[in-house]
């Protein structure tokens, strides 16, 4: 937090009215990300990670109520008008979604979609925009880019479509790219290629990036900082090496332990997390992880733990009974 933040999410909550009552999708989240940095947001489905990204992008469902501030490059996005927001999104704030088939327009060619973005945001003329499109497709590793411009999304494989979506997102040199489960729909070998591509383009452009994923393996080697979310809240936040070295929050530890390890012997019983995440329309009193937590005791069932600083710098956790308390050394 020493450098000036590019994005700072301040006390953001998102509430959604549903037939079953109010759903608190995001609960008092605070996050910052500096220029050129990578933040990983990790959590299981329903933990609010996608809603948080929508809150940053101001792309929430109409009925959703957002409180708090989202400061991007000195502007509060929450109070920005729709015209200003549209100028910003796609230009300095770009996004890559999980499913490239639904994020690309199926009835427009790849070329039209790329060229349109370039003309709209950068004011390029047709010829320049087309030339730039070819360069961009080549940069994201698409063979024969000229021919691809004439093709429709359904003519490309899933991996190729995600490359196109990335090319569109990168087309206007954004300052921040939000990648929401960018590889979940892809095969492992393609996943590695896409993550490499994102990392390479990020380095080259000095762009900040938020990777949203359910896979701790994806964030481990590819982020500077990680925020773990559970039931709408950030429950642990730390520089990536510090987090994996010393987890304070029992949920983070349990999440990591539950992943089958490639170097474990076959038929090893996995330390599963019992139960399941709480229903977001029925808030749990106390810590939302307490019903599943093996360390939970009295206070956990009554009070919500706040995010507090650990001894190692930049490490925060929300737990009354952290693992290895006070043992953190500055990284």
């Amino acid at each position: 937090m020493t450098e000036r933040a590019l994005l700072s999410v301040e006390n953001v909550s998102v509430n959604l009215p549903t037939p079953r009552g109010n759903l608190r999708a995001v609960d008092q989240v605070e996050l910052t990300i500096g220029p050129g940095r990578t933040l990983g947001i990790v959590g299981e489905s329903g933990c609010g990670k996608t809603m948080l990204s929508r809150a940053i992008l101001q792309l929430l469902p109409r009925k959703a109520k957002l409180t708090g501030r989202v400061l991007f490059d000195g502007q509060d996005l929450v109070s920005l008008g729709p015209e200003r927001l549209r100028k910003l999104r796609g230009r300095s704030l770009a996004v890559v979604f999980q499913d490239p088939m639904t994020s690309l327009n199926p009835v427009l060619t790849i070329g039209t979609q790329l060229i349109e973005t370039l003309q709209e945001h950068l004011g390029l003329d047709g010829v320049a925009a087309k030339r730039r499109s070819v360069e961009l497709l080549a940069a994201v590793g698409i063979p024969a880019p000229e021919q691809r411009l004439m093709q429709y999304p359904h003519q490309l494989s899933g991996g190729m479509r995600q490359r196109v979506a990335i090319a569109i997102a990168l087309s206007c040199e954004p300052k921040l790219l939000i990648a929401d489960e960018p590889t979940t729909a892809l095969d492992v070998t393609i996943q590695a290629q896409i993550l490499d591509l994102l990392a390479r383009e990020q380095r080259r452009r000095q762009m900040a990036m938020i990777i949203i994923t359910h896979d701790l393996g994806v964030v481990a080697g590819r982020t500077d900082e990680v925020a773990v979310m559970y039931a709408g809240r950030v429950v642990e936040r730390a520089p990536t090496p510090a987090l994996f070295k010393k987890m304070h929050m029992p949920y983070t530890e349990a999440l990591l332990a539950a992943i089958p390890k490639i170097d474990a012997a076959p038929h090893t019983t996995l330390p599963a997390i019992s139960g399941r995440p709480p229903d977001p329309t029925r808030p749990v009193q106390g810590c939302s992880f307490s019903p599943r937590c093996r360390y939970a005791a009295g206070q956990c069932y009554r009070e919500k733990p706040l995010l507090t600083a650990a001894e190692s710098s930049g490490h925060q956790y929300a737990c009354f009974h952290p693992i290895q308390p006070q043992a953190g050394l500055p990284a």
């Binding site: 492992v188 896979d215 080697g221 994996f244 999440l255 019983t269 996995l270």
Partner: protein
């Protein structure tokens, strides 16, 4: 043209697949989904079948059950050829071979109560006594960790994905089958729930004495439950071997590629940059020779001309490659 397995026959193979070829016709074109696959599953073992989407692993699972009829080859269950069977005899065999699907919510009828869903296989199998049926349903529900009294009267939408998968497992087990094909049973589930279901499958395997064919794209998941692993690429087997041996010393470049591509949850392990080359070709026009050659760093002229046969490279380990990563034993 087809691969002939030189696998030493396991002492008591419950399932034996020989030279299976499955093709689909799509708009006048042929998709070569499974092109001559042979494998054995020994009684009591778990065989993991891994590969990327479109490699034919699910088609293979369905062809074993005769849900998709193969073009040629044989599927022997306890020595009896399922491909020659029809009607009643096939229905009888299917009671002993069950299937668990990827999407647990979609594979349960949303309008029927859980008790009826699980009792259905019993009805089809001719268990006429409702009291007996009820007893068996309660027994299997308790086995998968659900309280029968709370669950039986409810509808699928009242359950989470993980619970629905438990219900699907209960339905597959209610007839006490010998063999269960699990087709990506945990891919749709969250990490914390996935571990619960994998553990449950292991418990059920021990309790009911099952033999499993475990189909998945996630190598770590496959390794966690399998005794042996078969790696499939574009309709053919690349490599078969005991799981630990296969992961420690992969012989096929594709197996090595799959292992390297897994993201490791450890920041000290730097991801290997661009281990993967290109994308799988279309199964409508598979490459000549070795099907992996278009993405293989070791491919040469021989690979374009000659289909590599599955051959022994180490004890119990078989590879279909002209230039394997480890020397033949």
């Amino acid at each position: 043209m087809n691969q002939h397995s030189s696998q030493v026959p396991s002492p008591d193979p419950l399932l034996k697949v020989e030279n299976l070829v499955v093709q689909y016709g799509v708009g006048g074109k042929t998709i070569h989904a499974v092109s001559g696959v042979s494998l054995d599953v020994a009684r009591g073992e778990t065989l993991g079948l891994v590969g990327e989407s479109g490699c034919g692993k699910s088609t293979l699972g369905r062809a074993v059950l005769q849900l998709r009829r193969a073009v040629s080859g044989r599927v022997l269950f306890e020595g009896r050829d399922l491909m020659a069977m029809q009607g009643d005899s096939l229905r009888k065999i299917r009671q002993r071979v069950q299937l668990i699907f990827q999407d647990p919510i979609a594979s349960l009828n949303p309008r029927r109560r859980i008790g009826d869903i699980i009792a259905e296989p019993l009805v089809i199998a001719g268990v006429k006594d409702p009291k007996k049926r009820n007893e068996l349903v309660c027994e299997v529900l308790s086995a998968v960790g659900l309280d029968p009294s709370l669950v039986m009267g409810r509808l699928p939408h009242e359950f989470s994905g993980g619970q629905c998968q438990r219900i699907c497992i209960a339905r597959a087990l209610v007839l006490k089958p010998d063999f269960v094909i699990c087709d990506e049973p945990v891919s749709a589930l969250d990490v914390s729930i996935r571990a619960q279901i994998l553990n449950l499958l292991e418990d059920m395997k021990a309790r009911y004495g099952l033999t499993l064919l475990f189909i998945a794209h996630d190598l770590a998941v496959v390794k966690a439950v399998s005794d042996r692993v078969a790696v499939m690429y574009l309709g053919r087997l690349c490599e078969v071997g005991p799981s630990e041996q296969l992961f420690a010393r992969p012989a096929h470049p594709y197996t090595a590629l799959l292992i390297e591509a897994i993201p490791v949850p450890d920041p000290d392990v730097r991801p290997v940059e661009s281990v993967a080359v290109g994308e799988p070709p279309s199964p409508m026009a598979p490459p000549s020779g070795c099907r992996f050659r278009t993405r293989c760093p070791r491919a040469d002229k021989r690979c374009t001309e000659e289909v590599p046969e599955l051959r022994s490279i180490a004890p119990d380990q078989f590879v279909a490659c002209h230039h394997p990563l480890i020397p033949a034993a």
